[in-house]
Symmetry: C2
Subunit: 260 residues, 2 copies
């Protein structure tokens, strides 16, 4: 144990809270904050854990926490209450270094997911988790998407945000044009003027990028125009739409990696 | 307008709140309570709307509410606040008759989803929505599942709970045995000793029932034993599991109705 923290005004605690609250601060610092025993342990496998905070009760309940890397701080319950964001907090919190990825990593033959203005953190997190599950090589987020390292997104992704490259880009059309120039097939998910998913080939040797828009608005016309094909999930008329996380995950399953 | 309600202690308001809060009371009365303009309009297409409550602001914003069936009640804002369960209430609420369905409706050649102890209302609602989307003929819920007409489940199902028969059963094994006696293939979703989904035939002329367990526990051994086949969604080792609503929806997509 490196130190015991007894004050809610402790500088490290304030720093962690600021990471949790502000996307701009996370970017500036290149760090993010996560809460929960399982989530912190999962994240620590693939991201650098710099600081771990836990209560005495958590230390007793989960002795394996002591084996995690980084500096460890015992926090009093009232300090943990300040750090906590969920209804039943476990008293375990971590500050991690954000993995840095750029569009230069996108390569021919790869399998990618691109999200345009998907604002719901639960949907972004779910889609990161499904992309990791189905062997995708990276996820590209347009501006206007929920932040991948915000607390709610991290919880929904169950740590998947550090399991595969997540690249925050600006507008998608130039990104997609660059991918197509590398031979990557870009498939827009859209309800109209599209082919049913069941008849779309699942395998693209040159690489594939599945492009999904927000639940309410779908993709912009510019982004659809920047793609090479358009696919939809056919449905009965008994529902108006599918949840965006569900629809996207079904597409990811259809275009999953070889061998799955 | 049948009446203006100015008191939070109004008998109709108290009745509606009790329907929202208690599954036992919903069963006793054969009615349920729903909140939200879109949800109430969707539900009214397929379920009997008996009483509709709305604020003056909602009546002005959505004049189409006046065309809905049932008795209409204008409620003051403080009464609406008592009925409301969501962070940004729209001031629209309805009391509906619960559609009644039984296992007698299960028929050879049909396509069913059975859930065992899926406790999360969001997952149950999402799976009802996906089952309706993909042409399933009914959903069977074991005891221990989230209540299909509870407010959170209704929100996640977006009204799908009244679009297809939802049957609340006890334990699943005898239900599955009866389905198999009718020639319906029962497929358990399980991680171990199972065949990968991609190699499972998608079409069962005698009928099919997809059986899904809870996110944490999976299916009980008895229920797996009562099924005729076992399937899993293959994944990379970069995630431990998929969200239950996601995994179930991918299975429903795979076993979707003909013509989709």
């Amino acid at each position: 144990m490196d130190e015991k923290i007894t004050s809610r005004d402790n500088a490290r605690v304030k720093y962690a809270c600021r990471l949790a609250a502000s996307g701009a601060f996370r970017k500036e610092e290149g760090r993010f904050f996560a809460e929960g025993r399982k989530l912190c342990c999962e994240l620590a496998k693939d991201a650098v854990l710099e600081q771990l905070f836990y209560t005495a009760a958590a230390a007793e309940k989960w002795p394996e926490l002591a084996a995690l890397p980084g500096a460890h701080f015992l926090v009093e319950e009232h300090v943990a209450a300040k750090l906590a964001d969920v209804p039943s907090p476990q008293g375990v919190f971590g500050v991690f270094r954000t993995p840095a990825h750029t569009l230069d990593e996108v390569r021919a033959g790869g399998r990618y997911l691109a999200l345009e203005r998907v604002q719901d953190p639960g949907n972004v997190g779910t889609l990161l988790r499904s992309a990791a599950a189905f062997g995708f090589d990276g996820v590209i987020l347009s501006d206007g998407c929920a932040a991948p390292y915000a607390p709610k997104t991290l919880r929904a992704s169950m740590g998947a945000a550090v399991r595969l490259p997540v690249i925050e880009a600006g507008a998608l059309p130039p990104v997609l044009a660059a991918m197509r120039a590398k031979g990557i097939e870009c498939l827009a998910a859209a309800l109209y003027q599209s082919e049913p998913l069941g008849s779309a080939p699942a395998d693209y040797p040159g690489g594939v990028c599945v492009v999904i828009g927000s639940e309410g608005q779908g993709l912009t016309g510019e982004t659809i125009a920047a793609c090479s094909r358009t696919v939809r999930i056919p449905m009965t008329d008994r529902v108006e739409s599918l949840n965006a996380g569900i629809a996207g995950s079904i597409l990811l399953w259809h275009f999953r990696g070889a061998g799955l």
